[in-house]
């Protein structure tokens, strides 16, 4: 009998709705809510021995929450952890993905389910993620696919696209029958034969960014300074993460001519911050910007700066930050920006 532990958002365990989104991780015996249907689908050779739940705000934003959830999962001695389905729910998807990734790192087998557009998909690490529909009204087919995939994982079989596998599929080393040089000759013959798809390495999907047109007249433009160097007030009031940032913050520059050492701090975890902290202008050049403002080289300096930590940040989050920053700056009237990178 295979032991399965199910991870669910607090809502599906009857704790409450959005008002309970901050509730702490909890474990209860047996299958709960959609877990009951999942248990039926899995049949008598499998048992959902426990259900672990957590509020989505707590799971997605409190740094210790995922480790606490994994401890509860581990206490139930699972052969497999099943998280979700999370559909398109962003915070729930992040929670399911991070729980599955952390459980896998902790040596457990884990699988999650969510919609392919869920922002959590990129955070599942090496744990497999199975596609679900957009919303809970599609719970039935989502559980069918999840149960079938879970049974396959427990049987030691590999999952593929036919099982609904989505997201990043890790590339693993193996020994080929023939050496690379011989395979290269075969590949070039395929290519000459008109096969443009044949390759052993898929093209990485890098975004192409078209640079904006130059600013026509900087002397009348409001310039914003932005940074991914994680420079924040010394006590880090917004709790910006040092790595894998999930948020960005804004702080006021109104009335400030300089950034005084000791009052500002870089919390970036990807480089030695000694020199940044000794002179914060090395990250955010407020001194130079104010001088340009006084000289009339720029119209005005935007009265706040936007900041995040660019260190192992997921591409999905970085893209979201970029969209939000652009929208924010347009609303505020800034028409030019300098983004410093570390």
């Amino acid at each position: 009998m295979a032991r399965i532990v199910h991870y669910l958002t607090q809502f599906f365990t009857g704790v409450g709705g959005e008002d309970a989104a901050s509730s702490a991780p909890a474990s209860q015996p047996g299958a709960v809510g959609p877990g009951r249907r999942l248990a039926q689908l899995l049949g008598p050779e499998h048992e959902i021995v426990a259900t672990v739940s957590c509020g989505d705000d707590d799971a997605a934003s409190r740094p210790e929450a995922v480790a606490e959830i994994v401890a509860l999962l581990r206490a139930a001695e699972p052969d497999l952890v099943v998280a979700g389905p999370a559909f398109t729910s962003g915070r729930y998807g992040l929670a399911c993905a991070r729980v599955a990734a952390a459980a896998t790192e902790a040596g457990l087998h884990a699988i999650a389910a969510m919609h392919p557009d869920n922002p959590g998909l990129d955070e599942a690490g090496t744990a497999p993620v199975i596609a679900s529909g957009e919303a809970a009204r599609l719970m039935g087919p989502a559980l069918d696919a999840l149960a079938a995939a879970a049974a396959k994982v427990l049987a030691g079989d590999l999952l593929g696209e036919a099982d609904g596998l989505i997201g990043l599929i890790p590339r693993r080393p193996r020994m080929a029958d023939r050496n690379a040089a011989t395979r290269a000759v075969d590949l070039v013959l395929a290519r000459l034969g008109g096969d443009r798809d044949a390759t052993e390495v898929p093209l990485p999907r890098f975004d192409k960014v078209t640079p904006a047109a130059p600013v026509e007249d900087l002397t009348t433009s409001t310039l914003a300074i932005l940074t991914e160097g994680a420079l924040v007030p010394d006590d880090n009031p917004g709790a910006l993460e040092s790595a894998r940032a999930t948020k960005w913050l804004r702080y006021s520059l109104a009335g400030l001519d300089e950034l005084e050492p000791g009052q500002w701090r870089s919390v970036h975890g990807g480089f030695s911050t000694v020199w940044a902290n000794a002179d914060p202008h090395r990250i955010l050049p407020l001194d130079a910007a104010r001088q340009l403002e006084r000289e009339g080289a720029i119209g005005h300096l935007h009265q706040e700066y936007l900041v995040t930590a660019g260190n192992g940040t997921s591409v999905a989050n970085a893209r979201r930050f970029g969209i939000e920053w652009a929208a924010d700056l347009r609303r505020s009237g800034a028409r030019s920006a300098i983004l410093t990178a570390t």
């Binding site: 497999p128 590339r171 040089a181 290269a184 070039v188 052993e200 890098f206």
Partner: protein, 423 residues
């Protein structure tokens, strides 16, 4: 008009040290005194000679270059041009004919500290042995102590010159013995109805201790150059490139260029082997662009239908690949690149650093970041420690594939690859 028409292969079955260097029916006996004398230099205080054979519980660390013993006749007769003999002074000399005698299964391996060299490791047993060409060769390991205040560039030069002279000397022992096999090497040339396929071999030429030599001179700053593949067999390309261990091409790999061998093996069957273009890999982007465009034009002028492109080094070398592949495709020449992946320990990161935009066909020679669990060894050569981990060189340790010499062989020696395997 190939430089070397045949390879007379003497298969090395066993090795030992003895009073005089000799070849006895598959056994290579080496005189350590003779070897030391050939390597003697004012900048080397001490040289130690040791055999490490397949299956031995030996780990060799800090490996610099590896050379296959070869000669073309008494005194070398033109082997390793520019080192053991002056560089060719006429085209006819460069394209001389003859047989090259090869001690297959043996290698001269220099190991020890040089500045800027990244630590390269070979295990003679355990899981890493199968990943390097040198886990299955009998390696004559040359360890050295420089004289006090010796100039490092002179030490590097003395080791290179000495190991090439030694490699030629060892092969000379078998010169009069009947070879196990004589390999006919087809020269490049058109075959009616078959596509003309060539190779571009990028050489990482990025300054001292990270340089590659052609006919005894640094190839840094040289233009893309069409060479006779036989010149590779004669040792025209010599490595002084001690960067990324798994992604470097030791001299042995140029002598046994796997893509050239694969094209020769298919010549007249399904391809027409069309030639070899050597290219430098410069440091800055504008030079990479200029060299890549020039290389593509050489291939177009030479009438190639398709080109296999190889790299040397880490992420920046992917740009040299991508630029050439795109330039070739733009000229209507099919391009295939041999890449190593740098996809993180779990294989979930982007596999390559700079991707082509027009070309699409790539071979994977494995993942740089894959971790290997290496067992404890009885002996270590080349150094007492693996500096990367600060542990005794004989200890059991976990290392990335990146550290195993030629494990991701950019010239295509290995069988390692990656594929998307669902969890």
């Amino acid at each position: 008009m190939s430089d070397v028409l045949t390879r007379a292969v003497h298969q090395v079955r066993s090795v030992s040290l003895g009073p005089a260097t000799a070849w006895r029916d598959g056994e290579l006996v080496v005189s350590a005194d003779e070897a030391r004398a050939l390597l003697s230099s004012p900048c080397l205080a001490e040289v130690k000679i040791t055999w490490a054979s397949p299956g031995d519980a030996v780990r060799i660390v800090k490996i610099l270059d590896v050379v296959e013993p070869r000669t073309k006749g008494p005194g070398g007769a033109g082997i390793f041009p520019g080192w053991t003999v002056p560089a060719p002074s006429s085209p006819a000399e460069a394209h001389g004919q003859g047989a090259v005698h090869v001690l297959r299964g043996a290698a001269v391996m220099v190991a020890g500290y040089l500045p800027r060299a990244q630590e390269a490791v070979v295990d003679m047993t355990g899981p890493a042995a199968a990943l390097s060409p040198f886990g299955s060769t009998h390696n004559l390991v040359v360890e050295f102590t420089p004289t006090p205040d010796a100039d490092w560039a002179e030490v590097d030069d003395a080791l290179r010159r000495g190991s090439l002279v030694l490699a030629a000397h060892l092969a000379e022992a078998a010169l009069d013995a009947p070879p196990d096999e004589v390999e006919e090497l087809p020269g490049p040339g058109p075959v009616d109805g078959l596509p003309r396929v060539a190779t571009i071999t990028n050489l990482q030429t990025q300054g001292a201790f990270k340089d590659v030599f052609v006919h005894g001179r640094s190839f840094n700053g040289q233009p893309p150059t069409l060479v006779d593949p036989g010149e590779l067999d004669a040792g025209a390309v010599i490595s002084g490139q001690f960067g990324h261990p798994s992604l470097r091409n030791p001299t042995w790999a140029h002598q046994n260029h796997p893509v050239v061998n694969a094209l020769r093996a298919r010549h007249g069957r399904d391809v027409s082997f069309a030639g070899v273009v050597l290219c430098p890999e410069p440091v800055n982007a504008a030079d990479k662009q200029a060299v890549s465009l020039a290389a593509a034009r050489v291939c177009a002028e030479a009438g190639f239908d398709a080109v296999l492109i190889t790299k040397e080094g880490g992420g920046n070398a992917d740009a040299d690949m991508a630029l050439k592949m795109d330039a070739l495709e733009e000229l209507g020449i099919a391009a295939v690149g041999l890449f190593a992946e740098m996809a993180g320990p779990d294989g979930s990161g982007p596999p390559i650093v700079v991707a082509p935009e027009k070309a699409t066909a790539m071979i994977s020679t494995g993942n740089y970041d894959t971790r290997l669990d290496l067992p404890e060894m009885e002996r270590a050569l080349g150094g007492a420690e693996v500096a990367l981990l600060n542990v005794p060189a004989t200890a059991a340790m976990e290392l990335p594939t990146a550290v195993i010499l030629a494990a991701l062989s950019p010239l295509g020696w290995g069988h390692l690859t990656c594929s998307p395997v669902p969890a």
